[in-house]
């Protein structure tokens, strides 16, 4: 019989993504160090937690040891949507204990905080300025004793403690051994772009998601995007193979592949620019059955250009947008890889999307600050899409404009796809021909079958190469 761990009472952070990273939130009555360089987001994070808890009816004590005045702090927070000036001084109280530290030392600060925590009836204590307390300590033991006393007296009354501190280059951090958790916030530069990471360096009694997690700071405060492959190491739902097929909307193709794409499969359309990949994706969306929802998740065409293109191709989706087909466009500027994934999955779960067209996966690759994780990322994403029963088409653009020797773009990613279709622009006798090769299909051997892609009024079609009315007419002309 398997023994189960006792369920620990949790304090929700109110910071999107953080509870997931922490394995369910902060542990009530536990103590945490939140560290990072100035500007890393420690103060915003802790205030976001404090105001979320205050809105839940808890009482908060926010103790500072800083040169920055509380009014400067409030001014900086006033642009954040979580900040509520009306509860200052009552539900949430900010006090400075700097005079006690300066005049009487760490022991006096401990006593003052104990009394003030009790007076406030606080269930969350934020202590901003641990570095200043360290500067006042004579030995490492003094710091450990200070932290131990603060957290033990807080734990005695069920109060959770967040110690905020700036990191230093020579950081040996003796107090890390005393607390239950250590969260590290960092802001970094990759080439010329800035990005932020959160890492749980220590998590006593709770299984946190390891590694670096991207986050951003906006008007609503901090939003954390747990690393997808860490969060979705396994899909959230057991994968059940659906034996049905999803018609592609490409005339002639479904008859060859057994009625359409296997439901819940992932298909890569890889090929040259202008070879018909996006058109096939639009055909797929256009032919979404009336009782299903679809999503176009793109990086290239805007909403308006996409509608115009579908109309020009004779597959007008404008009547299906937005009720049946939603369009999400993220320009190829500064995207965050995991944010894209959560945006995609949120739309799929909320709208119960069953058909997805991603145009294209190069947008995810460009957003990746750590290219080494792209395979694991796509493994997690495609596994989750399958488990959600989403039939997915994704494009991958090859660099060459035309030619017959198109290599697989990312061999490791290709291996985790169910189906792979290659699109090529071939030049023959001054004539451009678009070819489609079914390189790989789940459970069906279609290796090296090549077709011609044809644009016709009312949609697109495939036919055997050189065996179409259009080809014969061209040959006769030639």
């Amino acid at each position: 019989m398997e023994a189960s761990l006792p369920e620990l009472a949790r304090l929700s952070s109110g910071v999107p993504g953080l509870d997931l990273v922490l394995g369910g939130g902060f542990i009530e009555g536990a103590s945490y160090i939140i560290q990072g360089r100035p500007g890393a987001g420690k103060t915003i994070l802790s205030n976001q937690v404090a105001f979320f808890q205050a809105a839940s009816g808890r009482r908060i004590l926010y103790v500072t040891l800083l040169a920055e005045t509380h009014d400067q702090l409030f001014q900086a927070l006033s642009n954040m949507s979580f900040f509520d000036r009306a509860i200052l001084g009552d539900v949430i109280r900010y006090v400075s204990v700097f005079p006690s530290l300066r005049d009487e030392g760490l022991g006096a600060v401990v006593n003052l905080i104990r009394e003030e925590t009790k007076r406030q009836g606080a269930t969350l204590l934020v202590f901003d300025g641990l570095l200043n307390a360290r500067d006042r300590a004579e030995t490492a033991l003094d710091v450990k004793t200070f932290v131990a006393e603060i957290q033990s007296q807080a734990a005695f009354v069920g109060c959770t403690v967040l110690f905020l501190t700036s990191t230093r280059e020579d950081d040996s951090c003796p107090e890390h051994t005393m607390v239950d958790g250590v969260l590290d916030l960092s802001d970094n530069i990759a080439n010329v772009r800035a990005y932020r990471h959160l890492q749980v360096r220590k998590s006593r009694g709770s299984a946190a998601l390891g590694g670096l997690h991207l986050f951003e700071i906006g008007d609503a405060g901090i939003v954390i995007f747990p690393r997808l492959e860490a969060y979705l190491g396994r899909p959230t739902i057991e994968d059940e193979v659906d034996p049905s097929h999803a018609p592609t909307g490409i005339q002639g193709l479904d008859a060859i592949i057994g009625g359409g794409l296997p439901a819940g499969s992932v298909t890569l359309l890889a090929g040259h620019p202008g070879s018909g990949k996006t058109s096939c994706g639009l055909a797929f969306l256009h032919h979404t059955p009336a009782d299903l929802h679809a999503l176009h998740f793109g990086f290239y065409e805007t909403h308006a250009r996409l509608l115009a293109k579908s109309k020009a191709l004779g597959m007008d989706i404008s009547a299906q947008v937005p009720d049946q087909i939603d369009i999400i466009w993220n320009p190829l500027t500064e995207n965050l890889l995991d944010k894209l994934a959560y945006q995609l999955l949120e739309n799929i779960r909320r709208r119960k999307v069953k058909r997805l067209f991603i145009d294209g996966i190069g947008g995810f690759e460009r957003a990746s600050i750590s290219p080494g994780r792209i395979v694991e990322f796509f493994a997690a994403l495609t596994n989750e899409l399958r488990s959600l029963g989403v039939t997915t088409l994704m494009t991958w653009e090859l660099r060459e404009l035309s030619g017959g020797n198109a290599a697989s773009p990312l061999p490791e990613i290709s291996a985790m796809l169910d189906n792979l279709i290659e699109f090529q622009n071939l030049r023959s006798n001054q004539k451009l021909q678009r070819s489609v090769s079914l390189l790989k299909f789940r459970d069906i051997p279609y290796v090296d079958r090549k077709f011609e892609l044809l644009f016709r009024p009312g949609g697109i079609a495939i036919a055997e190469l050189g065996d179409t009315a259009e080809s014969r007419a061209d040959d006769e002309k030639g």
């Binding site: 009014d71 200052l88 007076r119």
Partner: protein, 119 residues
């Protein structure tokens, strides 16, 4: 010139205010929280108290209530300087001679102090 007590846990602010008042000819003592302020008031009997709202151990509101409850100190004028709790303080207008929202103009505060201390 008068003896003025400034109560504020944020020493940066209390030090600046103390210097400003001393430059204007007043004698100033400072306290880091309401409890210390109350003790100093009982010992030194200042002519005016200028206090912050949020402080450890005893808030500015609690300090004013304690003064009002003490027959010897009930008439001691109190000015509250507040960043965010002006509305709470104004609901207790009987406790404060003035409630001044931060940020304030030093000249206005000094003029107000002059009016009170000249009595």
């Amino acid at each position: 010139m008068a003896l003025i007590l400034v109560a504020d846990d944020e020493v940066l602010l209390s030090d600046i205010l103390a210097v400003m008042l001393m430059d204007d000819g007043h004698e100033v003592m400072t306290a880091p929280h309401g409890r210390a302020a109350l003790q100093m008031i009982r010992e030194r009997k200042p002519a005016l108290v200028i206090t912050d709202f949020m402080m450890p151990l005893m808030t500015g509101l609690e300090l004013a209530q304690a003064l009002k409850a003490d027959a010897e100190l009930a008439d001691l004028p109190v000015i509250l300087l507040t960043g965010a709790q002006g509305d709470i303080a104004r609901r207790h207008h009987e406790l404060f001679r003035a409630v001044i929202d931060k940020p304030y103009k030093p000249g206005e505060l000094l003029a107000f102090v002059k009016t009170i201390t000249n009595g």
